[in-house]
């Protein structure tokens, strides 16, 4: 996955041919992808598509059955993982320890000064609750503590797996704002989610996973802009349909509710079509161009496979 942005040239993660089986089930099937510095990379897929398994292999908690990967251009080891802030499959903490002591454990592992704990707890709004035990926290607070844990020591890369799981709308908005804030200051982020809306709002790049296979990888914008749908109508629908047969940028025409729905190529321009039809003596009474939302694209892509 190459970006046009020259700033995004350093490869943070490079995975080649990753495979994982659980008995007969192929959870991840020979997938390869790269994540560039400064990008927000979304791993998008329904539950059970292989997102968490992929992250599990990349973070050495699951052994791959095949394939290789590198972090920051070097062989993956514990020292590389200390440069990564991670929350996968929910926040995992000691229930009897306070927020502060839980972060102290990660700070000890990452060899980060304990003074950084205050910074990250303030960032997620939990500094006032630093001495409260983890078991007394609400779901939203637990999730925020998980993010604080990931932010500890200013990691070179953030990996967040379903960071808004179980949160109420306000909690979701707060967590998304935190992610956006990190992205805006140039933080590289890998975000695994089954929420299309989340990926669309936050990610610059994405890989769509289904049943362990990558169906698409590239820029999010390109994925969404890949196709457009056009609604068109005229008094004489038959003549309109006939005229459209000669227009080059149309891939498919479907008649619905006294209108024609057109699947068009990315280079399609509405004014060019209007001009073309006017030259053929057809006057349109309706023309609307609908950019495909990620959801439409995603459903289309996954239904094909």
């Amino acid at each position: 996955m190459k970006s046009n942005n020259p700033a995004l040239s350093e490869i943070v993660l490079s995975a080649t041919g990753l495979q994982k089986r659980f008995g007969r089930l192929v959870a991840v099937n020979n997938i390869s992808f790269q994540v560039e510095k400064g990008s927000v990379f979304g791993l998008l897929g329904p539950n059970g598509s292989g997102k968490s398994t992929t992250l599990g292999m990349l973070l050495s908690v699951l052994s791959p059955d095949g394939g290789t990967f590198q972090w920051f251009g070097e062989a993956a080891d514990a020292a590389q993982r200390r440069k990564i802030g991670t929350m996968i499959e929910g926040p995992n903490f000691y229930t009897y320890l306070s927020a502060y002591n839980n972060l102290k454990i990660n700070a000890t592992i990452k060899e980060v000064p304990y003074t950084d704990i205050e910074r990250v707890l303030r960032k997620v709004g939990l500094w006032e609750r630093k001495n409260s035990k983890y078991k007394t926290f609400s779901t939203g607070m637990k999730q925020r503590l998980g993010i604080a844990n990931a932010l500890l020591g200013n990691p070179k890369l953030l990996i967040l797996d379903e960071p808004t799981n179980g949160l109420d709308p306000q909690g979701i908005a707060e967590v998304r704002d935190l992610i956006k804030e990190e992205a805006e200051r140039g933080q590289t982020i890998i975000l695994a989610s089954h929420l299309l809306d989340e990926v669309e709002k936050v990610c610059t790049h994405l890989a769509v996973l289904q049943k362990g296979n990558i169906l698409y990888q590239g820029e999010t914008e390109a994925f969404i802009k890949g196709k457009k749908r056009v609604e068109i109508s005229a008094d004489d629908l038959g003549a309109l349909r006939q005229a459209l047969q000669d227009y080059p940028d149309i891939e498919k025409i479907v008649e619905k509710d006294n209108m024609l729905l057109l699947e068009v190529k990315p280079e399609f321009q509405a004014q060019e079509l209007n001009k073309f039809l006017a030259q053929k003596g057809i006057v349109l009474n309706h023309l609307s161009v609908e950019k495909h939302a990620l959801e439409t694209q995603f459903l289309e892509l996954t239904s094909k496979s």
Partner: protein
């Protein structure tokens, strides 16, 4: 090493379960020593420091199971709360996790040894030096064997913890293993008409025989010579120690392989 010790320190010095089990161990060791002393007085057994050390260490040895359960809970709860997984993700190696748990285990074993040693000396003060002899460390060399015994119980608990990964099931298996091994030993002895030493080589048998009570040994010996049934001789102290150490190495190696090979 210092980092791993610090990690374990943060986790367990704030854990209620840690204090409950350590407290239980201490209280029960003291109670068992008092009852042992009471029985010695009742049966008119003349105590000296040379017999007090093995007698009390042997009695205290039955409480090692609490240390074993404590270490088992500390490992299985890390699996169940996924904190071990989080440590790997955050930047520890599986090898680091393994070493950290064993450092914690050795610290617990050393604590048990020091506590038992102090309690024996305290009993010595209570009974009086005029009765027990002038040298309070006469017989104290057995504390080394007690250390091996505690480590043995702990390494077995660690092995079960890495194997089973569930706190409840792990404790049940650990506790039920002890009588099961005894039953199996009885069965094997019965089938071989008491002509085999095999049951004495079983892990629990080796560990519980690591420190023998001399008074009890005398009674057993007398019973054996009086019995018409052939009873196999006990393993030598040296054999028990060597086989005990082999078990510790085997359990430790097995635990490491389990952690290394399996997904978290």
């Amino acid at each position: 090493m210092k980092k791993l010790l610090r990690l374990e320190y943060i986790k367990y010095t704030r854990s209620t379960i840690f204090y409950i089990f350590v407290g239980l161990f201490m209280v029960l060791v003291v109670l068992s020593e008092i009852s042992s002393l009471y029985l010695s007085n009742k049966f008119g057994i003349k105590l000296t420091f040379a017999s007090l050390w093995p007698s009390l260490i042997n009695t205290a040895g039955s409480m090692n199971i609490f240390i074993g359960i404590l270490i088992m809970v500390s490992i299985t709860s890390e699996y169940q709360n996924r904190t071990m997984r989080q440590h790997i993700v955050d930047g520890l190696d599986k090898k680091d996790v393994f070493i950290a748990k064993h450092l914690y285990a050795v610290c617990l074993a050393m604590f048990a040894v020091v506590f038992v040693a102090l309690s024996v000396i305290a009993v010595g003060f209570y009974v009086g030096f005029s009765t027990l002899g002038s040298n309070p460390f006469d017989g104290s060399q057995l504390i080394g064997r007690y250390f091996v015994q505690v480590l043995g119980y702990i390494s077995m608990a660690i092995f079960f913890a890495f194997l089973i990964r569930s706190t409840a099931v792990g404790i049940i298996v650990y506790l039920f293993y002890m009588p099961l091994e005894s039953l199996l030993g009885v069965l094997i002895s019965y089938l071989s008409h008491n002509d085999t030493l095999i049951p004495q080589y079983f892990p629990k048998a080796i560990l519980s025989n690591m420190v023998t009570n001399p008074d009890m040994a005398k009674l057993v010996s007398a019973a054996k010579s009086a019995s018409p049934v052939k009873i196999p001789v006990a393993l030598s102290e040296q054999t028990t120690l060597i086989v005990g150490c082999i078990y510790i190495i085997a359990f430790t190696a097995g635990s490491y392989l389990l952690l290394k090979k399996r997904d978290l």
